[in-house]
Symmetry: D2
């Protein structure tokens, strides 16, 4: 399986993102983009996109970006991430990308951002991802 | 409106949390609990709860805990949060609480955690929340 | 006093940085650079630069960058920062820069990095800075 | 070498902390305390303790706490930490402690705080530490 296929299969397995209506829009070595069209049922009390939805796509973009650089028998888990919120997106399509800044043997560090309408930075993320060996005879 | 009522109204306005099936289980001055029963459609690729779902309830518990200590004409926005993931929860009911550690004039700092099945710490959060003045004639 | 002068005076008042031998090497609107030549007495147990020294110059570069955009009657305090360490610098001159990504009324968000020998990224920082009104008759 | 001795030797090798006048005041399995008496040359522009000095002792308390639980042939490095600053300490003796919240095979997570005069929380830290295998024939 190519890494592009592996990312698509992994993304398809992330059912929370399907629930939110998120879409995988780009897969490259060390960089993955995820889009989230605005929906009212993703909002917080004032109607703008909930911080948790922003964090969800940002974390996933980072995790999948890290996974593109790991060998085929690996999965990825989030060790930690921090999100800073610069402006609340209202009624915008958000795009998260989380390029890898440094890939180590077990730990990969990503630094990304979430844009609203391909323009304004609404949030930034820094994330530490860890390689997890898949068990069993085959690769996933 | 009492602060308890205000928190219930605010929580009810967070449509992302309704989408996830999260429940407000406790409201006290400076402390709010949010429960999230496990559902398969909140999972990530390996079937355990997605980091984004954990972050969503942890952020909300912190934000609402901060809001309990603000005056009636205030709303709350997330400035930033960081989540560390200690263990992936599978098939567990998660409970987030995010007590206020320090409430300043405009900035409130919360430090909380997410427990699985009322026992294991699966994640910790530190969050900075900001007071936002509500405009208009009435309080929300 | 121009903002450049204000930054130089403020930096000169940061005695910890003098103790470490740090130098202010660039001041521009929204961006400040601080250099730290390697010294053995700034090390940790393995001899490379202590994470605390890296954090000190990164935090200061962010704080002063934020201060360049505040009015003359302001000081700046760190609300929070997070540092990710990518590689331990040994025997290198480190350079921290922490450009402002978003300046709000009271809160400024910076995202910077620390380079070793003007080349390798050894650490990244994301920082939230807060404006503090100076009291008294004059500006500092 | 007992783990207590190992921590004392490691602390003694952290020359930055000697430069600041920090003291190792407690070593237990999974918990280390570091004290920092106030000195004017550790200050920032307003005279209170520099955020970098606070971060330095907090990071070290976490790193050494993690090291107490690692085997004898290990050293520890900081992967990342985040510090939130609650109140600026002026003219106080600060005490950092950073107990281990979860020790994994390679990654250890600590959550600690810095107290001023054994009373007020002036800062909190969450830190990810990584085990590093020592090379060579002997343990350090």
């Amino acid at each position: 399986m190519s890494f592009e296929e592996k990312i698509r299969v992994t993304f398809a397995g992330q059912r929370l993102l399907a629930l939110m209506g998120a879409q995988l829009t780009r897969v490259a070595a060390g960089a993955v983009d995820i889009a989230l069209p605005f929906r009212e049922d993703l909002g917080q009390q004032s109607g703008s996109l909930h911080a948790g939805a922003i964090a969800s796509i940002a974390d996933t973009a980072c995790g999948l970006a890290a996974l593109t650089l790991m060998d085929a028998a690996s999965d990825v888990v989030s060790v930690e991430f921090k999100v800073n919120f610069l402006a609340p997106p209202v009624d915008s399509r958000c795009l998260a990308h989380g390029p890898v800044l440094r890939a180590g043997r077990s730990i990969t560090f990503c630094e990304g951002e979430v844009l609203a309408d391909d323009e304004n930075v609404v949030a930034t993320i820094t994330a530490t991802m860890k390689q997890k060996r898949l068990r069993g005879t085959g690769h996933r």
